[in-house]
């Protein structure tokens, strides 16, 4: 590994010089004067928030810019040749064997009507003269390499039969079949949970090392940068703001923007003093709760055994407590949150709210329960009615409270102020940014001063600096109003920042629970340990190591 002071001797795989990308009739360039090099076998991260132009830069390298957007300046030199002078036909031999690309959304990047085997064979058929048997053998090998169980069956399966993590591994396999010299991975694991994220990236690092492929990892997640990349470049609004070796950039960021990004990383805050409320009766008590889905149809009148999603689960939440519920996708954490609020049906057990069973409550009792509870959704784009103004959305919950219009209006304004949206009441949701929308959703949830709030991944759809802001806002509101909160998340870094108590769920059961510091510092259950190991927490690791981390391969498999 080269250090910064030693100029590299090896020629670069790719060098981008003064790249400029503009919207055809736009005023401001999307990417402005961007220059960087990728050395052979290097793992380079491109970091930036949405709108920073990082995806556009990657697409420009492959000459895959969307219509209306074009490269207006600079050179992209791959293998000693400027790619921007090549036409569509001349790019074809480059795409695939030269530069491979893995896209963000595994759910849509495989064609749903073709079998996996056919899709994998496409590239080899086009770029090599291999026979059908040879192609098949190589594909099988590669599937085995990315740890797909039963590769034979996988070849004949369709994409919908696989989970997101599996699909991303298949995608990676088919790209790496061609042994590209450069792999561009555009947010390859953003849509995946922590465990699959780790698996996919570890495989990517391994495959890249085997084939001597350089990797350009585009991400907004500094945690991943800290764990996998050797060098990083930071983009802000289409401009390069900082470049350097990875531990350095995270530990001592030189530019204000980089520092802002690093500061946005969640960090642990001192635990609250033991809450006297904890000795009181819990606000929410869940006893032996079961949720199951009916099994698949096995005949006209027959069904398979129902699938247990939540399996006789017990849970207590005390007044004013921030309880985090963590687990991978499919662990049943979202279902549990919805079942407690009776948005999803449950089949047996008890849900006691202030000692009253709400699982079997009648309409009136359910209405009383809902007046005291709220839910914050993950996706701020679909949780707000597009036809209502922000002020109407926030004021809507108040229609169930006995109050005068003036008092309602005052409360609505007050809540908008609290979430930092004063003056935006007359806007429609589509006129707001993602972070602002999530603030609206939080305001709607809190306007009635609920006693209990379920927050289902409230920040996972947001940009990292916005994530930090919203998380901090949520935390301060919780401390101010003192509601109890069930914070559902797969992001342990965020949980570490705000939770009082952590509950770990796996396949519908609680496998571990305890105070935050206890769970994070001394995890007992294997699943908790795996989750923690998979969560990139660069600050914690760098702080404890005190030195630069070892080179990538060992680091990735540590």
């Amino acid at each position: 590994m080269n250090t910064v002071t030693n100029p590299p001797v090896l020629p670069s795989v790719l060098s981008v010089e003064h790249l400029k990308i503009e919207l055809r009739h736009g005023t401001q360039p999307l990417v402005h004067d961007l220059s960087f090099d990728v050395k052979p076998g290097e793992f380079l991260a491109v970091v930036g928030e949405s709108g920073s132009g990082k995806t556009m830069a990657a697409r420009a390298i492959l000459q895959l810019l969307p219509p209306g957007i074009s490269q207006t300046g600079g050179r992209i030199i791959f293998d000693g040749e400027d790619l921007s002078t090549r036409d569509v036909k001349a790019m074809r031999p480059i795409r695939g064997p030269g530069i491979g690309m893995v896209f963000q959304e595994p759910m849509v990047s495989l064609n749903p009507v073709h079998r996996i085997g056919e899709q994998m064979a496409e590239g080899l058929r086009m770029h090599t003269g291999l026979s059908a048997e040879e192609i098949r053998a190589r594909s099988l090998d590669m599937l085995r390499r990315v740890q797909i169980a039963d590769p034979e069956r996988c070849m004949h399966a369709y994409p919908h039969e696989f989970s997101g993590g599996m699909r991303q591994r298949i995608m990676l396999a088919s790209v790496m079949l061609l042994k590209p010299r450069l792999l561009i991975a555009d947010e390859p694991t953003t849509a995946l949970d922590t465990l699959s994220q780790r698996e996919v990236l570890d495989l990517m690092v391994g495959l890249a090392r085997d084939n001597g492929t350089a990797v350009l990892l585009i991400t907004h997640n500094l945690g991943l940068v800290g764990r996998y990349a050797q060098r990083a470049i930071v983009l802000e609004k289409g401009r390069l703001v900082e470049t350097g070796d990875v531990p350095g950039i995270l530990v001592e960021p030189k530019q204000a923007y980089t520092r802002k990004l690093v500061d946005a990383l969640p960090r642990r805050q001192p635990a609250k003093a033991a809450n006297p409320a904890q000795q009181q009766q819990p606000l929410v008590q869940v006893r032996g709760l079961c949720v199951s889905y009916p099994g698949a149809r096995a005949g006209l009148f027959k069904r398979n055994a129902p699938v247990r999603v939540i399996d006789s689960l017990d849970l207590d939440i005390h007044p004013g407590e921030m309880v985090a519920l963590v687990g991978g996708s499919g662990s049943g954490k979202t279902t549990l949150g919805r079942a407690i609020l009776r948005l999803a049906p449950s089949h047996s057990g008890q849900i006691l709210f202030r000692g009253e069973d709400v699982r079997t409550a009648d309409r009136a009792a359910l209405h009383r329960f809902r007046l005291a509870c709220q839910l914050v959704f993950q996706d701020p784009f679909s949780s707000l009615d597009p036809r209502m103004r922000v002020q109407d959305i926030v004021a809507e919950p108040l229609r169930h409270l006995p109050a005068f219009d003036a008092a309602r209006e005052r409360r609505m304004k007050e809540t908008l102020d609290e979430v930092g949206l004063d003056g935006l009441g007359a806007r429609y949701p589509h006129e707001l940014s993602g972070g602002q929308r999530q603030r609206v959703a939080i305001a709607r949830a809190l306007v009635r001063r609920p006693a209990f709030v379920v927050a289902d991944e409230p920040v996972s759809a947001l940009d990292m600096t916005i994530q930090a802001q919203v998380l901090r806002l949520f935390q301060s509101l919780q401390q101010h109003h003192g509601f109890a909160c069930l914070f559902i998340s797969h992001d342990l870094a965020a949980v570490e920042q705000i939770a009082d108590r952590v509950i770990v769920m796996e396949r519908g059961r609680i496998v571990e629970q305890g105070a935050r510091d206890a769970v994070f510092d001394d995890p007992r259950h294997a699943y908790t340990q795996a989750l923690l190991a998979a969560t990139p927490r660069p600050l914690a690791t760098l702080a404890s190591a005190g030195t630069a981390p070892s080179p990538v391969p060992e680091k990735a498999f540590a």
């Binding site: 609020l341 948005l343 209405h367 809902r370 007046l371 509870c373 709220q374 839910l375 959704f377 996706d379 679909s382 949780s383 707000l384 009615d385 597009p386 036809r387 809507e396 919950p397 229609r399 169930h400 429609y428 589509h430 959703a441 709607r444």
Partner: protein, 271 residues
Amino acid sequence: MKKFKTHTLVGGVLVAVLLVLAVVAAVWTPYNPLGIDLRSKLQPPSMAHWLGTDEFGRDVASRAMQGAATSCLVALLTVAAATAIGLVVGVVAGFVRGWTDRVLMAFNDTLLAFPGLLLALGVMVIVGANKWGIVLALSLAYAPSVVRVVRGTVLSLREREYVEASRMIGNSEIYTMWRHILPNCMAPVAVLATSMFGWVLLSESALSFLGLGVPPPAPTWGNMLASARPYMASAVWLCVVPGLCIALTLLGINLLGESLRDRLDPRTEKA
């Protein structure tokens, strides 16, 4: 912004002219639209008869004006009724789901399986050939397609998180339907309704053509067109006038419908 304004302007002018003609026809027409004058039959457009006369010597301009009132009233009422039925049935079926949905949709699909005109013919035979019969028959024939569109929209809307949020707030199901689902269905329904206006105008002429429309001698654009058929070669103005009326009305309604949809949807308001 430019496109939006032109749409509204052209559509608005066309529809306004139509409405003025229809209203004026109620109190005054150049000639009596039913007045037969066999001496001046099949005369081409002239200073006396601006748009010529038909095979009974009736003034085509007067008949077209009177026809505008009848045709547009029939079409408007039909579209309103079909949309109302479609919205109610579609929202209920899509939102309640289960057996309600299955029964409603089974009935709806049975209606859809008949060709619309055949269904209308059947109803017309039962209720008799008059204005109200046509409205009833055509709204029954057109409602099922509205039901389909509305139900589909509702099915996708009800999974949105803001519908769930409304439930969490403690709103009743009916309020949620009214406040959050129905308004979000309006854009596709507005588009459907404007194109339906055209189909209804044409269906009304088809029914007249088959002898089941508004009975003669009362003029509608449809039966004017139908009775002009034998004279298509000799007296071309007889089919051009009602045909042009129908075409211009459709154009106006469609343009207005488009700008209406843009206006209904806050997301395209500033586009």
